[in-house]
Symmetry: C2
Subunit: 348 residues, 2 copies
């Protein structure tokens, strides 16, 4: 049994709280600055105001200014903040947190160093901390798991990555349940890249479906072929990006599984369907109720990084026709036919 | 413009007829011995009795005993028979057909040489013909395309594979349209293996969904995580099989795209859902209206080949837990929990 502090009371933090509590761990939630009313509600009702299920008994709740009280005596900290809180987490928490306190981050995304290098958020934080003379490792959790699926106890495979094998095993043993399956790897950059870039490509698959629905009508299963053609190209381009990141084979596979789940059932899919039907990005986001679509940030960073690398002669833009297509539609707000012929090959 | 004889008046033959006619090619259909009544109906009505759409004007229909009349003057022959007609096609057609007449086969599946070697049907036919002193090449068409999707003019990518580059290009140019996209490769064994073995793995993904639906209830999108975990493992095992077949990277990618389409929208999915809910294979097939499920033949051959190769020390059965699971359920008729922990890894 461990005491685990989860910083950020959103979907993924909640999902991990249920998982961790199932193993008998005790949970302490810390709200971010935007979570004040959520903490109020949790203290009052024992549950998140937007969720039906109450948090496990014994869960404690802390306002963000009292985060040190929560962390004291904890075995490790889970950072469950959105990618928009990455710099807040760095400044308000990581710079002040005891470097011996292990941190596991569930934030999905990639940081762009500006020269075509994409790094994971843990890597981004570790670099920034080092500049302040703080040396620490940060661990990450990623993989094809929607928070909703985890809360429904759907069998889920995630990966925890980072440097120290013993600590990886400790985190796995704290969080693993009969339906929450955890792989371990030291390939943090590969894994975090894989589960981030799938957003760009899942968007492409969903755009093709939205476009086909609008152009041809018919049920979804009359548009399987076009989705499959885009899926094939998506996997091809993802593997090319992951080779640039020196990703291990298992990390790439997790990215492909995550592409599948995102293309068939996640928020990015809904955005892609609307874009494919001809909505602009703004219209689509409005229709989706102003969801904060972190995937759009990742897509932009990926496209920028590939463009810079192409300028340096490290890649050829012709090898990324699907990424180029997705970014063009986002930029122009105008859906076009996909570059199908560019997805074909002649190996003669 | 070419004259194309299509042997077999089923779904895929019909779909290819529409594609070919769009380019101005003239189509001659030849029924197999089981198609007699279909040929009757086609001659009478100009359409397949089970389809709404009439065949293109000018299409001619031949009973199987008159196949030589159809072939005479054709530019090439498309074999569009089910895998249950493979030996009939060999004996009745291929052994008698002028070896200079090009043949493109759309039959999906793999033949098992009995020693753990899996070969494509074209390869199987070429070997059998060589024993009779007949030397010919046979080309194949495969890829993630359901016949229904093709008939709905959904953008589709397929691959034509075989030995002679000029002939590959000729077939592509005859069949390619603005929405039917054709890649070319010489990697016939890799490509045909990729598009055949995906059946075993798509069945596994669908079984996981059927099981989750039954155990947990809820909408399909609350079971994305479990599907993704199985999809990840499916891709891993497919890549292992394809490495044994020395498949090219592009062939493997086509197989992954085909896995996607089969897991999300094809007949194999329906079978997998029923098996996952606990039906036996016989019950499931009955519920599906006695569909001829060619995929079951391929799954059995794949599993047998891997078992033989494991006995020879060429592979380790532990590397194929999903295939083993699928075959166990088919054999025992009893759905079990998937071997989730075997899908995880520790790369430390």
């Amino acid at each position: 049994m461990a005491v685990i502090t989860i910083i950020g009371i959103g979907q993924i933090g909640s999902a991990l709280a249920f998982v961790a509590a199932e193993n008998g761990n005790r949970i302490r939630f810390v709200g971010t600055p935007v979570d004040k009313e959520v903490v109020d509600a949790c203290i009052r009702d024992g549950r998140h105001p937007k969720m039906d299920l109450p948090y496990p008994e014994g869960t404690q709740y802390f306002y963000c200014e009292n985060w040190q009280d929560a962390v004291t005596g904890s075995d490790f900290v889970i950072g469950a903040i959105s990618s928009f809180g990455v710099d807040w987490f760095l400044e308000a928490i990581l710079k002040k947190l005891d470097p011996s306190m292990p941190v596991l981050s569930a934030t999905k995304g990639l940081a762009d160093l500006g020269d075509g290098t994409l790094v994971s958020y843990p890597d981004y934080w570790v670099r920034a901390l080092r500049k302040c003379g703080i040396r620490r490792n940060i661990y990450a959790l990623g993989g094809p798991g929607t928070a909703m699926g985890i809360m429904h106890r759907d069998h889920t495979q995630v990966v925890i990555c980072g440097k120290d094998s013993a600590l990886l095993k400790k985190m796995k043993s704290a969080l693993e349940t009969s339906w929450f399956h955890i792989s371990l790897t030291k390939d943090a950059r590969g894994l975090e890249t894989a589960v981030a870039i799938k957003n760009a490509y899942a968007l492409g698959v969903a755009m093709a479906l939205g476009h086909a629905r609008k152009e041809q009508g018919g049920e979804d299963d009359s548009h399987c072929n076009s989705q499959a053609a885009v899926f094939t190209q998506a996997v091809k381009e993802m593997i090319r990006v992951l080779e640039l990141q020196n990703a291990q084979f298992d990390s790439t596979l997790i990215g492909i599984g995550d592409l599948y789940v995102t293309a068939t059932g996640a928020r990015t899919r809904k955005l892609g369907l609307l874009l494919g039907e001809g909505k602009t990005c703004e219209e689509a986001q409005e229709l989706l109720g102003g969801m904060t679509l972190e995937s759009l940030v990742v897509i932009r960073r990926l496209a920028d990084a590939i463009t810079i690398r192409a300028r340096k002669g490290q890649v050829s833009l012709e090898d990324f026709p699907l990424l180029h297509f997705v970014i063009s539609v986002l930029d122009s707000g105008k859906m076009e036919e996909l570059p199908w012929k560019q997805f074909t090959f002649e190996n003669l």
